[in-house]
């Protein structure tokens, strides 16, 4: 089953006004990063390479707030989404 189809099953309320609750502290670090674990370790594929801008982009609207990115990389500036936003599981 494709990840895209799984993400479609999850209840999200995206914070369009507040924007991303995730950020990269210093994006120049990513260019020099050899491991680039954020690209594969996130269970929801939040981090991707933006070929045009040549930087890591953050699809925060797919984030389930697990925290794996912040544990695996010190450059991630990780916050909770604003109250009531983000993931809301149906089953849990």
């Amino acid at each position: 089953m494709r990840l895209e189809d799984k993400l479609y099953l999850i209840g999200f309320k995206v914070d369009e006004v507040g924007g991303s609750h995730l950020a990269i502290k210093d994006k120049s670090v990513c260019l020099a990063c050899e491991m680039k674990q954020c690209l594969y370790i996130c269970p929801c594929g939040v981090y991707e390479i933006d070929e045009i801008k040549n930087e890591v982009s953050i699809n925060y609207d797919a984030c389930v707030e697990c925290g794996t990115c912040r544990v695996s990389c010190d450059e991630i500036d990780w916050h909770y989404p604003r109250g009531g936003f983000g993931v809301a599981y149906k089953f849990g």
Partner: protein, 432 residues
């Protein structure tokens, strides 16, 4: 919110926070629980086994009225390899008698129900609200700041129950950052299946259920822990891995669970099922040695936020519930004297020490490090067991003596006899 002072402010409406809220509200304490999700349970995930005993003194006659799925009468444990497993199981008619030892639960429903018990007892639960930091006065915690305008909440005491990521424990300076070598990520799918199909496949009837725990390597040679739990009309299938191992082996969590779904021992059990939800959550597996400071002036830390997980026995929510209860009892005693200093609240630690919580965490305290340094225990041994079983059970004209010799030779090559003895000793030292 700013004008009212509460007796206790609780951060997070999970098992730890809600059990504390229930005990406090029942005792007439003015308690507020602040939850960042749309409803309690919205952000909460676990494998799915909830133990009954911890509910004593919190909810009478549990699980009457509670949204539990199936009571577990059989537990299987498998050492898995790419396309096989060696396992044993325990099914017991005693597990089929009330009060049931444990049930599978789905946390979005379960936590919502537990929250209802808290509000019924008189607690106030405020959803959709992020707690940003503690309010400090003269080095003491005197409340919490929230993301709402004028959202400061003053309280005599704050109970921190904000889960594995615990930004509160971090902001209090009570814990170092989470370590990638002792935190696991688990991903899970809820796979819908017909009730009758589940009963037939797992050889159960009514509300009886089965759990399967798996350990070994099933993807890219990395050591994983997986589980399959039966719910009423679905199964919870999940797999977890230490984050450092995921980094070392380039593991994508979705690919990992997809490979588990294709495992020949699993795929027939979920065949025809439809994935209803995909979930991810971290598990703090560092145990006793990773615990943060538990008590400060006006504050106590509970549950996952305090690393209260017994990974060996897949227990967590029962430790959380118990810690919440003990924190609440500590508050009640402290309130008699009106003293919420860390010295007064330190009896929370004593209570944890006297309970199974700290006793179990201490018992296995050497294990996380042991497994970190000795990956063969969870990786090579399951493989060797599977190879040995296959060889012994295959009839191909080779004598049993020859086969045994070959198995021993293989084991010696892979690990070495002395190392095997050492490993046995280490395990015995860690869990014995």
């Amino acid at each position: 919110m700013s004008d009212i002072k509460y007796d206790v402010a609780i951060v997070g409406a999970g098992p730890a926070g809600l059990s504390a809220a229930i005990v406090l509200a029942k005792a007439g304490v003015n308690v507020i629980v602040v939850e960042r999700g749309r409803f309690p349970g919205a952000k909460n995930v676990m494998g799915g086994v909830f133990y009954t005993d911890c509910m004593k003194g919190i909810v009478e006659e549990f699980p009457n009225g509670a949204p539990v799925e199936r009571h577990i009468i059989e537990q299987r444990m498998w050492m898995i390899d790419d396309e096989s497993y060696v396992g044993f199981g325990h099914k017991n008619a005693k597990f089929d008698k009330e009060p049931y030892n444990c049930h599978t639960v789905l946390r979005a429903q379960f936590d919502k129900w537990l929250a209802k018990q808290a509000t019924d007892a008189g607690a106030l639960i405020v959803n959709k609200t992020v707690v940003t930091e503690p309010i400090m006065e003269d080095g003491k915690v005197v409340g919490i700041k929230t993301g709402r305008p004028e959202g400061d909440i003053k309280a005599n005491c704050v109970i921190v129950a904000d889960g594995v990521n615990s930004l509160m424990a971090k902001s209090l300076g009570f814990r170092a950052k989470l370590k990638k070598e002792s935190v696991a990520l688990a991903v899970k799918e809820i796979i819908g299946l017909d009730e009758k199909v589940i009963n037939d496949r797992f050889n159960v009837t009514g509300s009886q259920g089965v759990t399967i725990e798996m350990t070994g390597s099933l993807f890219k040679g990395a050591e994983a822990m997986a589980f399959l739990y039966t719910n009423k009309k679905s199964v919870s299938l999940g797999v977890g891995m230490i984050i450092e191992d995921m980094m070392k082996h380039n593991i994508n969590p979705n690919e990992l669970i997809e490979s588990l779904k294709k495992h020949p021992a699993i795929s027939p059990l979920i065949a025809g099922g439809e994935t209803k939800e995909y979930l991810a959550h971290m598990i703090p597996e560092g145990g006793y040695n990773d615990m943060p400071q538990l008590v400060g002036d006006g504050v106590m830390i509970t549950g996952d936020a305090a690393t209260m997980v017994n990974a060996v026995h897949r227990e967590g929510s029962n430790l959380a519930i118990t810690s919440g209860k003990l924190a609440a009892q500590t508050y009640l005693e402290a309130a008699e004297e009106g003293d919420f200093s860390s010295a007064a609240l330190s009896s929370y630690i004593d209570k944890l020490q006297e309970s199974f919580v700290m006793s179990d965490l201490k018992k296995y305290k050497a294990l996380p490090k042991l497994l970190q340094k000795n990956r063969q225990l969870l990786d090579k041994y399951p493989k060797l067991m599977n190879d040995a079983a296959f060889e012994l059970l295959t009839v191909d004209g080779i004598s049993k003596q020859e086969k045994q010799k070959h198995i021993w030779k293989n084991m010696k090559q892979q690990i070495g006899f002395t190392n095997m003895l050492k490993d046995l000793y280490k395990i015995w030292r860690s869990v014995g």
